[in-house]
């Protein structure tokens, strides 16, 4: 993605200590982060400081985005350092402060760190290099064009002179900054930092157990806090024995907080406001958490009565018996269905899922003279800052937010509820506090991935071509609007490729909070549409890979979709064909085409593709199913096209390995609700992806001449249907509802035996 001239403004200056500071401002364009994250970058035109060079040559680079394991804190400075020609091993990296005016777009989400930063961060580095070179040229009275740079030095080949960046930094800071758009960036062939595996900047601290995460924050005089809320979202406190809790060992303060209904403000996730609850404060977290048992809290929680997983299931299945509201229409599906030689119909279902970041939600807050200072493991620091200010009724400039490394994010930390709670408790308690949720609170108060339900219908010609594709999806609504993370439209291939398509939508009102889970919507819709696509291949008596390729190639003549208003690139089917062909080759696909025996009894291979978060990914899973329906994924082959270069290969491969294994885990997971409260309470209640179930993963990047894009999400959606399709190949059981359990496989086999 190119950066427009308007976006970059440059400033130079020196610190009191004589260091050169290069500031860049980005004028926002209100660009939307993809996949439900919404508009992230908002207008701002002032300066942010990205690099600082001290007289001794020390280079400090700012990482503006949070790191939750996806490697942004390492990658963003790599982009600057490459064009600066800094010595990577001598670079210091710091988190930028959360400041939307100076750093504009600061978030982790939507696999957007690469697309958002690839061009502008390199221009930061190139501008820094340009003024350093000019300063050296002035000193040596030579032409800047005769100088080169390498690893923190400016060199003059003709005279053999060289000078360290630190020695010319102060001079450079007095020069007029160049127009960043006029700077020539390197040809990627010249890269010495990008394209090479660079270990994470926090790795040593992680391995040595040094304090690093939000939960490790300590500020002077800090106390520990828990915030006890109703298990039914939004329920108000009726009564509680605050005295009994106050009498518990180690407890110093107990008070109730009136709920504040959501108000206006906040851009991405939550609106300002706070749940009704009770704060318990003391000097040791275990003691304050134990004191909650003395509260005997009662809640006005009748509002949860109707919100039951079983109720949702039966309501949805009833809705699927009639038509929904038309969401997308292409051609006349009904007519095409009527004309089809073969019609296939199925109902699919996916469950609600929790995030379960391993670091439970936490936040440290300290009251200041006019406001509050906050240390938070958050994916959206500026959104949190906004809603804290609005909830407390103070100026946003009086809220300081320090980003902390996140012990996992997966979309959970887009929602800054924990930040608001910590700020309110610190202000009420008039003391610095660390709020830490026990795991039970984390499970009970998530912004869950909502489940959904689908009736699918397709019509095939006598030659096995898909003529019609109909999907009626049931999702959830809140205040009359589709819930966050509950989107039913995605770039799923069948609807894009079929000549006629209609998507209908029905919504069930819910009070249960929802949000975005890694590869939101796609992580559910991939299973639905790519499993059904596999059913169509079977109905057409075609090999699943060949069936997909034939339909994709048939669409080459016409574009599948227009770019969206936010400038999201549309589905380029040629890119998907390439990765699908490659993954078939790499996995040895074709040795068990339809009609042939699988390689071994009970072993099957399944395939799926998905276009998610700008990445094109095709995957093949090899799955073993035993006589009791117990399944095990042995290996997954991945081919991904995310552009022309893999910027940090070790992290890129790790993101794919993790996404694939997590995706296999999503096949096993489910959270259910009973009268508005989560049934599961802690990790023991979930089937978690653990070491023995983690498959081998083969990762291959197919490099193409397209803008580089992110990898946090795209590799996750395809593995879910690939495994389900492999189960079918292994034993004939077509599983249309997740979680994928041995019981469902055995039931499907029994049905198979009957027919």
């Amino acid at each position: 993605m190119m950066t427009s001239r308007r976006e970059l403004l440059l400033s130079l200056g020196t610190t009191a200590a004589g260091a050169m500071v290069l500031g860049f401002g980005f004028t926002g364009r209100g660009r939307a982060a993809s996949a439900g994250v919404g508009a992230a970058a908002q207008s701002a035109t002032t300066l942010g400081e990205y690099l600082m060079i001290e007289p001794d040559g020390t280079v400090t680079l700012m990482a503006r985005n949070p790191d939750m394991g996806q490697g942004a804190k390492t990658l963003l400075p790599m982009l600057i350092a490459e064009e600066l020609d800094a010595d990577w091993h001598r670079v210091k990296i710091e988190y930028a402060p959360a400041d939307a005016k100076r750093f504009v777009s600061q978030y982790a989400g939507g696999s957007m760190s690469v697309p958002d930063n690839w061009d502008p961060m390199r221009r930061v580095g190139a501008a820094g290099r340009a003024v350093l070179v000019q300063a050296a040229a002035n000193r040596w009275r030579v032409d800047a064009g005769s100088l080169s740079t390498q690893r923190g030095y400016v060199m003059h080949a003709a005279s053999g002179r060289k000078i360290g960046y630190g020695e010319v930094a102060a001079d450079a800071a007095r020069l007029a900054p160049p127009d960043p758009m006029s700077l020539l960036l390197k040809d990627p062939k010249q890269f010495v930092i990008l394209g090479k595996s660079q270990r994470g900047v926090d790795t040593a601290a992680i391995l040595d157990g040094r304090p690093l995460f939000g939960i490790d924050t300590v500020v002077p005089g800090m106390k520990y806090a828990v915030f006890v809320k109703s298990p039914v979202p939004g329920a108000r406190l009726k009564s509680a024995d605050l005295h009994a809790a106050r009498a518990m060992p180690g407890v110093e303060d107990v008070f109730s907080v009136d709920g504040v209904a959501p108000g206006a403000g906040g851009q991405i996730g939550l609106k300002p406001g706070i749940a009704s609850g009770i704060a318990i404060i003391g000097r040791n977290w275990w003691q304050v958490n134990r004191a909650r048992t003395a509260l005997q809290a009662e809640w006005d929680d009748g509002s949860g009565a109707e919100h039951d997983s079983g109720v949702y299931d039966s309501l949805a299945l009833k809705m699927l018996e009639s038509a929904g509201e038309t969401h997308t229409r292409k051609g006349d599906v009904d007519e095409a269905l009527a004309k089809s030689a073969t019609r296939v119909e199925a109902v699919y279902q996916t469950p609600w899922l929790p995030h379960l970041t391993l670091e439970p939600q936490n936040c440290t807050a300290r009251p200041t003279a006019k406001g509050v200072e906050i240390w938070a493991p958050t994916q959206f620091p500026n959104d949190g800052r906004d809603i804290v200010a609005a909830t407390l009724g103070i100026d946003v400039n009086d809220v300081t937010v320090h980003m902390c490394r996140c012990g996992g994010g997966f979309g959970r930390r887009i929602m800054n509820d924990f930040m608001v709670e910590a700020a309110v408790i610190a202000m009420r308690g008039k003391a610095p506090i660390k709020l830490l949720w026990p795991r039970e609170d984390d499970v009970a108060h998530d912004y869950y991935r909502p489940g959904n339900y689908h009736r699918l219908r397709a019509g095939l010609s006598g030659k096995g071509e898909v003529l019609a594709y109909y999907a009626h999806g049931v999702s959830f609504s809140r205040d009359g609007k589709l819930v966050d993370g509950g989107e039913l439209d995605a770039d799923a291939a069948p609807g894009l490729l079929a000549p006629t398509f209609r998507l209908e939508q029905s919504l069930i009102p819910t009070i249960i909070p929802t949000g975005w889970l890694r590869a939101p919507a796609d992580n559910s819709l991939s299973f639905v549409h790519e499993s059904f696509w596999d059913e169509l291949a079977v109905a057409a008596r075609r090999d699943p890979v060949q069936f997909r390729l034939e339909h994709m190639r048939a669409s080459f003549a016409h574009p599948l979709a227009e770019p969206t208003e936010e400038g999201e690139p549309p589905y380029d089917v040629r890119r998907m064909v390439a990765v699908l062909e490659l993954v078939a080759q790499r996995s040895g696909w074709g040795q068990h085409a339809v009609g042939r025996q699988p390689p071994q009894k009970g072993v099957g291979m399944g395939v799926a593709t998905f276009f998610s978060h700008r990445g094109y990914v095709a995957e093949v899973a090899k799955v073993r199913v035993d006589d009791h329906g117990v399944w095990n994924v042995e290996k997954v082959w991945v081919v991904a096209d995310v552009g022309p270069i893999i910027l940090n290969p070790t992290t890129a491969e790790a993101q794919v390995e993790g996404a694939v294994i997590e995706g296999v885990g999503q096949l096993m997971a489910e959270i259910r609700f009973d009268k508005g409260r989560a049934v599961q309470t802690n990790l023991a209640d979930f089937r978690l992806m653990r070491m023995p179930a983690a498959p081998e993963v083969d990762v291959h990047f197919h490099l193409t001449a397209n803008p580089p894009t992110g990898l946090g999400e795209p590799a996750l959606p395809p593995v879910i249907p690939a495994v389900a399709n492999a189960v079918f190949a292994a034993c004939g059981a077509r599983i249309r509802s997740l979680p994928l359990t041995a019981e469902k496989i055995m039931a499907a086999r029994t049905d198979l035996a009957r027919t």
Partner: protein, 159 residues
């Protein structure tokens, strides 16, 4: 006062005997490397060694520790297995978010101290109590083999 030996140092703690060792380490002694994940011995993030053997510190009451030596991730490299584990974790760039890795490394060092050449099945058995939400299992497995000086390739899917 409760007397403990933590990473080779004697410390005296004024805490309830029923306080889990995890919270003594984190909030009383200030060693933040040992992590809280679930509080019910289901995730392994809080794994430390007692006399060289991995235990879940979130369910180990401090009063039950007695004279046993407590070793946390901060002293991982005080044993040859711990040094090999840390080096392999760094070489293979195992960590993603990194939150579970203290527990993973403590469990791995405990495994290697008891079994110098673990098979894939041995690794599964020793490590299945350590949950990694980022799913870094592929690299954890390879890093354990690397630390043990055996071929890190994964051949489980080759059939």
């Amino acid at each position: 006062m409760i007397q403990l030996s933590v990473n080779g140092k004697r410390v005296a703690i004024d805490a309830d005997a029923d306080m889990p060792l995890l919270w003594v380490l984190r909030d009383e002694i200030g060693l933040k490397g040992t992590k809280f994940g679930c509080g019910v011995a289901q995730c392994g993030a809080c794994t430390v060694h007692l006399d060289g053997k991995p235990v879940r510190s979130c369910v180990t009451l401090v009063g039950s520790v007695g004279s046993r030596r407590v070793t946390t991730v901060e002293a991982l490299t005080s044993t040859p297995q711990g040094r090999a584990v840390r080096a392999a974790w760094e070489k293979l760039d195992v960590a993603q978010c990194g939150y579970c890795q203290a527990g993973q490394m403590m469990a791995a060092a405990g495994l290697l101290a008891a079994n110098a050449r673990p098979s894939d099945a041995d690794i599964d058995a020793a490590m299945q109590g350590n949950f990694c939400r980022c799913s870094t299992y592929k690299r954890i497995r390879a890093a354990i083999k690397t630390a043990a000086g055996i071929d890190p390739a994964d051949h489980r899917g080759a059939a």
